[in-house]
């Protein structure tokens, strides 16, 4: 057995496709293991399909590395976090914690949005007050907004905790108070009278990070480069009061390694999670399919008679059913679970193998070593397992590899039609969302190309392996080299 295996391996290893396939397979497995170790199992429900987690990311922006090809410099997505105040001042009745962030703003564009979050405000008597100041390089200072934590209710016992789950998040780009602050700032510093509506329409970032330019009745904004200071002052009224965390987000025009989708989800995170899912679907489906197909084929070929007739008729029928319409119908009617997809793929996938294995077994059955085993009184099950199956095993194994990509592709196709399992993000689903959001027509390539490419690479890996195995299984193809 081991000699045969070594021979087969050297035959397999000769061709370039096999080496490529093995290399890809190792890479895919390594990434999958990394995901299994580092991702939570309920990643899909808890994180991926949980919009608040992604709210501080820019929406549908390309990867960060795209800016390195020149052109205008786009704002890099930056998150400013502080758990400790930079300064503390005390007065008779209160204590003021100051959190300060400074931004060296040298970009040619404006941020896509800005937001401020406060996490965990704990107080004993009076609710703390938070004030956000915005200091521009031209020394203008805006008091953008003031937030007060919800006051203590009569039934609550101090200490009272506010804004833990979820934190208090103010989307500054859509906040009316910010718009008012900008309105008075523009009229004071630039003698420019504009409505709050207009500020909301052009986005508050433009007046905040820019200087108005009025030419022939049209208003435009020019970026004001320099150092900005974001200052959050928290006024606390009891010595025991605390503030957890202050976060200021400068929404970028680019994000991370792979960009984001229209919900602001980091595509790199979702795409990496797709690796083990794809391999799981492929392996489970192909293993079940080949086991059933091979068992059916061996039984059908070796036992003959009624068993043969039933299996072959059934295989003939099932083999002729067009798969995708049936898959669509079943997932639509029964439910969009990953298991539904796997079960249907197996139920309609086994006949091809069963038919071919049967024809191979018919030849093996007549050989002398089977006759010898039979005459020694071996049971039928023993002969099928120990003598017949090993003869067809190489072929069955090559088919195991060969079925893997078709399962992955079928799942992707179903996901693309909107029938994927909603609790588990897959590459097909990411692509489907990108397509459905009209990404093809506005050119969101970073959302559409990578998931498809990953599907192709994964599928190609197994096709290469199967191709490399072909000469091992079919000796006739060996001669040509």
């Amino acid at each position: 057995m081991s000699v045969r295996f070594r021979e087969a391996w050297s035959e397999f290893w000769v061709s370039g496709v096999s080496k490529l396939g093995v290399a890809f397979l190792i890479a895919l497995s390594a990434i999958s293991i990394y995901v299994l170790v580092s991702y939570p199992l309920d990643f899909g429900l808890r994180r991926w399909n949980n919009p608040p987690i992604w709210s501080d990311n820019p929406k549908a922006v390309p990867p960060a590395w795209t800016t390195s090809f020149g052109g205008e410099s786009v704002v890099e997505h930056t998150t400013f976090l502080a758990t400790e105040p930079t300064n503390v001042t005390e007065s008779a009745k209160s204590r003021t914690l100051t959190y300060e962030f400074s931004i060296d703003y040298g970009y040619d564009g404006f941020p896509s949005f800005t937001s401020l979050s406060v996490t965990n405000a704990t107080f004993h008597t009076r609710a703390p007050q938070f004030t956000l100041f915005f200091e521009r390089p031209d020394n203008a200072t805006l008091k953008l907004l003031r937030e007060v934590a919800p006051a203590k209710r009569s039934e609550e016992e101090p200490p009272v905790t506010r804004w833990t789950e979820p934190p208090r998040r103010v989307y500054l780009s859509g906040d009316d108070r910010v718009a008012s602050a900008i309105q008075s700032f523009l009229s004071r510093d630039f003698e420019l009278k504009v409505s709050r509506d207009l500020i909301m329409r052009v986005h508050p970032e433009l007046p905040l990070f820019g200087v108005p330019k009025q030419e022939n009745e049209t208003l435009s904004w020019e970026v004001l480069k320099g150092t900005y200071h974001i200052r959050v002052e928290a006024e606390l009224f009891d010595s025991r009061d605390t503030v957890g965390e202050i976060k200021y987000v400068l929404g970028g025009g680019v994000f991370g390694m792979m960009g984001t989708d229209s919900l602001g989800r980091d595509l790199a995170v979702g795409l990496i999670f797709g690796f083990p899912v794809a391999l799981f679907i492929g392996f489970v489906t192909s293993t079940l399919t080949t086991v059933i197909g091979a068992a059916g084929g061996v039984a059908s070929g070796y036992l003959g008679g009624k068993v043969d007739l039933i299996i072959q008729r059934a295989a003939d029928l099932v083999y002729n059913v067009p798969l995708l319409p049936i898959l669509i119908f079943f997932t639509f009617a029964v439910g969009r679970g990953l298991w539904v997809i796997v079960v249907i793929l197996v139920a309609f996938g086994w006949p091809g193998l069963a038919i071919i294995v049967r024809s191979m077994v018919l030849q093996v059955r007549e050989s002398q070593f089977i006759e010898a085993a039979r005459s020694l009184g071996a049971s039928r099950r023993w002969i099928m397992f120990r003598h017949v199956f090993p003869q067809v095993a190489p072929y069955v194994f090559s088919q195991l590899i060969f079925y893997t990509p078709s399962a992955i592709l079928s799942e992707a196709a179903l996901s693309f039609l909107g029938l994927g399992d909603p609790s588990i993000p897959t590459w097909g689903q990411i692509l489907q969302l990108g397509f459905q959001s009209g990404g093809v027509y506005v050119g969101w390539w970073w959302w559409i190309v990578p998931p498809g490419l990953l599907i192709v690479v994964t599928a190609v890996t197994f096709v290469f392996l199967a191709l490399g195995m072909e000469p091992v299984v079919n000796p006739r193809l060996r001669r040509m080299r």
């Binding site: 798969l323 995708l324 319409p325 119908f329 039609l417 559409i448």
Partner: protein, 354 residues
Amino acid sequence: MGIARTLTIRAVTLIAVLILVLFMVVTVLGATGLSDKLLGAIVNERVRAERQSLAQSIRDPDELNRVMEARELELTKLYGLDLPWYLRLPQMAYRVLILDLGNARSLKSFKGSRVIADIVLERLPNTLLLMTSAIAISAVLGLVVGVKIGTNPGTRKDRALSYFSAISFALPTWWTGILLILTCAFWFQMTFGFKLFPPGGMYSTPPPADPWVAALDVVYHAALPVLTLVVALVGSYTYTARTIVLNVAQEDFVTVARAKGVPEKLVERRYIMRVAAPPILTNIIIGLAGSIGGAILTEAVFNWPGMGTLYYQAILQLDEAVIIALTYIFTLVYVAGRFILEVLYIALDPRVRY
């Protein structure tokens, strides 16, 4: 006698397939309670329509209610809604068979009809047009290239083919389509200011008046979807053709023919192709189911007004009646296509005839 018998056997198998699919569909419909929902909707629709017409003659609202209640009970009986789902199976199967599935929820035919049969059947020719042209082009391409390479195995071209066919097999059809839209429509628009090919649809708006120009317009719109399908199909077609030709080319009778000094062209055509053609066709027959799947997805991507796009829309709008009808019609198309190819096979392979 021989042909008739072979054809009958094939026809019976294919009809059995159709029955199997029908049976599966109605069983799932019954077991999941979807058939109750479906028939209930038909009954409601009819009751509403009759009530409206009766309201003209019966003025008394109490009287009208009484009549309609009786009528509703009658209809419930007629549609078998008072029976458990498994007793309703034959009736339901027949309903699917003749596409009597009521009205679509919100989908409409191009002329505005909401009847399911109208919606589905008017799209059938568009799907057939797309599918047959793609399969025909791929088959011819696959055959020509496959034979060329199969008779010269081991060359660089041969190795390139095996890489290409692997990639063609692994390329999700719809993703190829999306890439083509991104490049030929979006990217061209951005860099050159015009689209090389339209990103979707079947006609320009408004469609050209002259029938010849209109036909060209359809070809122009079909270019990308057909190319997408060809890319998906041609790899496996070529590779199987190459492998089968390679196997045949190593047979002794081919060597003898070459040794006799038969010109290479003649060897290829008479000795190799004649033997290789039937199994190659068999492979195309087997691939038909896959081509149908590819066509569904390609249509959805290119918004081609065929049954595949309808599938996509029906899924988005949760219209189960349309999905049932489409599943059935696609199976029917598949069965019919299979049968035509089987007839072709008999014409190619004399061994089946005698």
